[in-house]
């Protein structure tokens, strides 16, 4: 290290100029509040980040480190969540990094028209996440023939295994049916829908069942209450768990907004 490298610019989002101030504690990936870089009729939300972490070579290695990735993702989302409270930001992909402020200005210049179209489409909208799980079947009751003796024969064992399997399949079938009905209803209510791949319990660390629906919905802010109510209507069903997350910045719709507006 002969000469110290100047910091780089991490760009979280592009917005229209807005009046509100970011809430205190809107600390980004550096632990400091981000800076607003005004340029023309757009604003880039940026942070100065160390080149030791964010230059091309080191960044590649860092992103393979799950702890670092998790901390960066949380910092990124903290800023987007704070922005979402005061305006309708257009989220950029995680780890969008420019060399310096003039690089950020060129980014705003060159992307101006696509940013403007996407911001228009996302204006006043937020993203809600809905996941549906088939809960693990409760242990089936033993039948009288196998219960009292405590001795379980091969035939009884097979019978019990079969019942367990049927129970699991039944639960899964019920959750899928609930998902289909719910997804249709929510899609009709929302302006746009994005279906993510179902999450594996080994990745979520969730022992609460099999994830059969993992979807995102773009909803106008003022219609949020109705959306939440639609989700709430089905969450009581037995053996089926419905999870609602949000409101999120419209991450899942930033790309779609561009395509459809193009």
């Amino acid at each position: 290290m002969s000469t110290p490298t100047p910091p780089l610019r991490y760009v979280y989002a592009v917005c229209r100029p807005f009046d509100g101030v970011l809430p205190e504690g809107a600390a980004g990936i550096t632990g400091e509040p981000p800076r607003l870089l005004h340029h023309g009729d757009l604003v880039a939300v940026v942070d100065a980040v160390p080149a030791e972490d964010f230059d091309e070579g080191p960044l590649r290695a860092r992103l393979e480190d799950l702890d670092w990735l998790a901390a960066t993702a949380r910092g990124h989302d903290a800023v987007l969540a704070a922005l979402t409270a005061v305006t309708s930001p257009l989220p950029l992909r995680l780890a969008t990094v420019c060399r310096d402020d003039s690089g950020v200005r060129r980014l705003l210049d060159e992307g101006h028209d696509r940013f403007t179209r996407a911001l228009e489409r996302l204006d006043g909208r937020v993203e809600w996440g809905v996941k549906v799980y088939a809960e693990p079947a409760s242990a089936p009751r033993p039948t009288p023939s196998e219960a009292p003796s405590g001795k379980v024969g091969g035939r009884d064992y097979l019978r019990r295994r079969l019942r367990e399997r049927n129970g699991r399949e039944e639960g899964r079938r019920r959750a899928e049916e609930t998902s289909r009905v719910l997804h249709d209803r929510l899609s009709a209510y929302a302006e746009a829908t994005a279906v993510h791949p179902p999450q594996d319990p080994r990745l979520t660390g969730d022992t609460g069942g099999v994830n059969v629906l993992n979807a995102a919905y773009l909803v106008a802010r003022e219609r949020a209450e109705g959306f939440v109510a639609l989700v709430g209507r089905v969450s009581e069903e037995e053996g089926v768990r419905v999870e609602l997350t949000g409101p999120w910045a419209p991450y899942s719709f930033a790309g779609i907004a561009e395509e459809e507006a193009a």
Binding site: L90, P198, S252, F253
Partner: protein, 61 residues
């Protein structure tokens, strides 16, 4: 409106942050190619353990 407020699961965050957001390409940015590579690796990890769990209604449109 009472939405349960709790710590966001990392996997929910990564679903959105690694696949969502506007992708800038070109010489303005340093990192996009690298990020895309990492994203592909993580996707492979996620889908490799999720293969037995296809969406019930086929592919999203």
């Amino acid at each position: 409106m009472s939405v349960e407020h709790r710590r966001i699961a990392l996997v929910d965050l990564l679903d959105r942050l690694l696949a969502g957001g506007v992708v800038i390409t070109g010489d303005l940015t340093l990192s996009i190619a690298d990020v895309d590579l990492v994203r592909v690796d993580l996707k492979a990890l996620v889908s490799s353990v999720s293969d037995e769990l296809p969406a019930p209604w086929g592919q999203p449109v």
